[in-house]
């Protein structure tokens, strides 16, 4: 055995705190180590050539690279040594950057630790076995979770490549948040005019199947072969029979606040959320429907000439296989009720930006009139408060929601256009208008539309004489401000969906402290997750505006298509294996396996001269967690790449 050790400087990232030359010198003294050297950038082309040349020159057969985290460059060096004729699983990495040079300042101690980490890696690699990659077939179908603009864009992009897509949307219609908007910044495109054509495209595509009013129940499997259970909730309306005529909701006697209009308008108990809904098929809200409450009524059923309404229709579970999954579940609004000083809930005329969006929308509950929700009067003085829930570590989220500066500017502009006599006041902390033509847009709103921007926070809002008195500070002039407003609009931030964690747990993707999904790498793998085959797009990952959302949707589609066009997928052979000679057929591993990847197998035992049962690992199913190894009392089952011997050797080398 001839082990080669290659220590990387990573420029000064490692070399500044770790004496890399000393690490290489010490490594050379280790048993079985035949060659050790250091180099400025081991991952660079010359660095990799150095490894390849050393392998050829010294006929090395195992390699240790002491550099960054294996999550970053293990693959790089596997390919590198493979090109030099070594099995790619005969390398190990010593993480002397993330786990050493970047977290310690004491050069002497950091160097000592780096030497030890290299010693561990050398001990481990000496027990590595050459492994062969396994291949699994790819299911040529993509699941898109979420039917907002990001999900729609992703589905369209994939359907253009002629691969089948299944889109799952929780609400009765696709369209998501964007369907509620009036105009989009900074071009003032009408949101519906640019969204609804896409909704129609996706609905008419023969490659796209849309399941609205549906939710993900269970996800199993792995990249190339996910099995997903989708619960198609009962609408009580037969999708095949319904013609979308609307006779049913015209007859329905029940009126409840519309979720789509955030309670500003009313809807029936059988309803289509908005007129441009896709599919244009109503759904019965069982909680409010008189038939479900009292077993009487049934007016809608009588009104339906197509006989599409059936109160007995049950939820349906669809089970389907997918090669890749795109998560496009979007965001929800920050719950601003924590800001008692703004009086939301107490004063009807304190609303959120999304309420304003519905009001200013010509197809909205007020037909585009901006009025006071309390008395229906036209508004004149409107106060906008930015950063509600954003950039506030005490009460809200620490991050900037990125869009509120822009949508507030848009609202101020639309206010002036709808009510030319009105005046907008905007309280802000900073204006963050980084985007193409964004800064210009905000300036236009200030200069041409006369919006007054006040840098400071609002301390209190109270009602007096039918007006809302807004007390705040203008920190630029150092004065106290008091505005008699007709309407107050809160620019609430964007937060993760309530059920974000539940879905993350089903998909095995990580999420951060704000429950936003975490990408595989913030710069170099922004739409991938660490679970291969699961991709992210849109605001489920971090607050994003429409251009960014659409861009990430296309990016995620390309990544998914990149998987689908392959005939078969490479799988890491780091899976469990059984030594039949040692297996005592206790079957504890079968019970411990979270993936049902182990099954009993009957073998002919030549020593005992009879048949007996042993455990057998199903190659395509085993995910390589190693839970089975810990329950095996005979040590008959072991995990390639993290074998008992490898770990024991590492401990021995401490």
């Amino acid at each position: 055995m001839k082990i080669g050790v290659f220590v990387c400087h990573c420029g000064t990232n490692i070399a500044a705190t770790v004496d890399v030359e000393k690490v290489a010198q010490e490594a050379a003294k280790l048993p079985k180590v035949f060659f050790a050297t250091d180099y400025k950038y081991m991952c660079s082309d010359p660095g990799q050539n150095l490894v390849k040349e050393a392998i050829a020159k010294h006929s090395l057969d195992r390699i240790v690279v002491a550099s960054c985290s294996p999550s970053l460059h293990e693959k790089t060096f596997r390919i590198c040594v493979e090109a030099a004729g070594i099995n790619p699983y005969l390398i190990e990495m010593a993480n002397i950057r993330e786990h050493c040079s970047w977290v310690h300042h004491d050069r002497e101690k950091a160097t000592a630790k780096a030497i030890e980490l290299v010693r561990l890696a050398v001990a481990k690699v000496s027990c590595n076995r050459p492994l062969q990659k396994t291949y699994v077939p790819v299911e040529k179908r993509v699941l898109v979770i979420g039917g907002g603009i990001s999900g729609i864009q992703a589905a369209i992009d994939i359907s253009f490549a002629k691969y089948p897509v299944v889109m799952v949307e929780r609400e009765p219609s696709i369209g998501g948040r964007m369907a509620r908007f009036d105009k989009t910044f900074p071009t003032l495109d009408c949101a519906a005019c640019i969204l609804t054509p896409k909704m129609v495209t996706v609905a008419q595509s023969k490659y796209v199947t849309i399941h609205t009013y549906s939710e993900i129940e269970e996800v199993t499997g792995h990249v190339g072969d996910f099995t997903v259970k989708i619960r198609k909730k009962s609408r009580c309306v037969d999708l095949r029979k319904c013609t979308g005529c609307g006779a049913c909701f015209a007859k329905c006697p029940v009126k409840v606040p519309s979720e789509f209009d955030l309670g500003l308008g009313m809807r029936k108990a059988i309803y289509v959320p908005f007129p441009q809904a896709v599919p244009n098929i109503p759904v019965i809200d069982r909680r409010n429907c008189l038939y479900f409450k009292t077993k009487k009524c049934g007016l809608c059923k009588k009104a339906c000439l197509a006989e599409a309404i059936d109160f007995e229709i049950q939820d349906e579970i669809i089970e389907q296989k997918f090669g890749a999954i795109i998560v496009a579940t979007g965001f929800t609004q920050f719950d601003h009720s924590v800001y008692g000083e703004y009086g939301y809930g107490k004063f009807k005329d304190v609303i959120t930006g999304l309420h304003f969006e519905r009001m200013v929308n010509s197809s909205g509950p007020t037909a585009g009139k901006i009025i006071r929700p309390s008395d229906g009067k036209e508004v004149k003085d409107v106060v906008f408060i930015q950063c509600v829930g954003s950039r506030d570590e005490q009460k809200g989220m620490s991050y900037c929601s990125r869009l509120c500066c822009m949508y507030t500017a848009k609202h101020a502009l639309l206010l002036k256009e709808h009510n030319p006599d009105s005046q907008a006041y905007v309280f802000y902390i900073d204006i963050r208008a980084a985007g193409k033509n964004y800064e210009e847009f905000v300036k236009k709103v200030q200069d041409e539309y006369g919006a007054v921007y006040l840098r400071g926070r609002v301390s209190r809002i109270f009602e007096k004489g039918g007006k809302l008195i807004v007390k705040g500070a203008d920190t630029l002039s150092g004065s106290q401000i008091e505005i008699k407003a007709d309407l107050v609009v809160l620019a609430t931030g964007l937060v993760a969906q309530e059920e974000a964690v539940k879905l993350a747990q089903m998909l095995h993707i990580p999420y951060d402290k704000n429950n936003l999904y975490t990408e595989a790498h913030p710069k170099l793998a922004p739409v991938e997750t660490i679970t291969s085959g699961v991709f992210l797009t849109g605001a489920c990952q971090s607050p994003k505006d429409i251009p960014d959302t659409v861009a990430t949707a296309s990016a995620a589609s390309v990544k998914a298509l990149g998987l689908l066009i392959q005939d078969k997928l490479e799988r890491e052979p780091l899976i469990a294996k059984v030594d039949n000679k040692l297996c005592s057929s206790c079957q504890a591993c079968i019970k411990a396996c979270p993936f049902n990847a182990i099954e009993p197998e009957e073998i002919e035992d030549r020593q005992l001269k009879r048949k007996r049962i042993v455990a057998k690992v199903i190659e395509g199913v085993c995910a390589g967690c190693g839970n089975c190894t810990a329950v095996c009392r005979m040590s008959a089952i072991d995990l390639e790449g993290f074998s008992n011997r490898q770990i024991m050797e590492e401990i021995e080398a401490l």
């Binding site: 993330e98 747990q505 990580p510 999420y511 975490t518 993936f595 995990l639 590492e650 401990i651 401490l654």
Partner: protein, 147 residues
């Protein structure tokens, strides 16, 4: 292991690949300083951890052993950390029974986005092991062998 004035504990940490190892990577990327006493061994899942690995570390003279995995319910392999939690609750009792200071063996749950938590876990662990003092298991063994 002989006790010196400037004795520094040696701690072995077994980190699951998906959460805690990535969390420790993030601590590095975010340049969060913590004491250099911990040696990280990567395992795919906390459920991979055989109790023998912990015992072997202590026999080898490690002053402390840490197992860190994904938060409960967030395991990359669905259930691995449930197994680990149970397995090591038992082991902790056993170690205590054999006279090993329970502070020497600990578990933590650190996610891939909790670089700050990882740094904190290490700082606190090092402090605790320092207060527990050096692991004399090896000394005791050699001593009894001499007798």
């Amino acid at each position: 292991m002989t006790e010196k004035k400037n004795w520094e504990p040696k701690i072995v940490a077994f980190l699951c690949n998906w959460c805690s190892y990535a969390g420790a990577d993030l601590a590095g990327t975010s340049r969060m300083e913590y004491p250099p006493n911990v040696r990280i061994i990567r395992v795919p899942c906390s459920g991979r951890m055989n109790p023998l690995f912990v015992i072997k570390c202590l026999m080898k003279g490690a002053d402390g052993v840490l197992i860190s995995g994904c938060h409960i319910n967030d395991c990359h392999y669905s259930e691995g950390n449930f197994y680990a939690r149970r397995r090591f609750a038992v082991l902790k009792k056993l170690l205590e029974y054999t006279g090993i200071d329970p502070r020497r063996f600990q578990m933590s749950w650190v996610s891939a986005s909790e670089g700050d938590k990882w740094a904190k876990v290490v700082r606190e662990l090092v402090d605790e092991i320092k207060s527990a003092g050096p692991n004399r298991l090896v000394d005791r063994q050699t001593h009894s062998a001499e007798v």
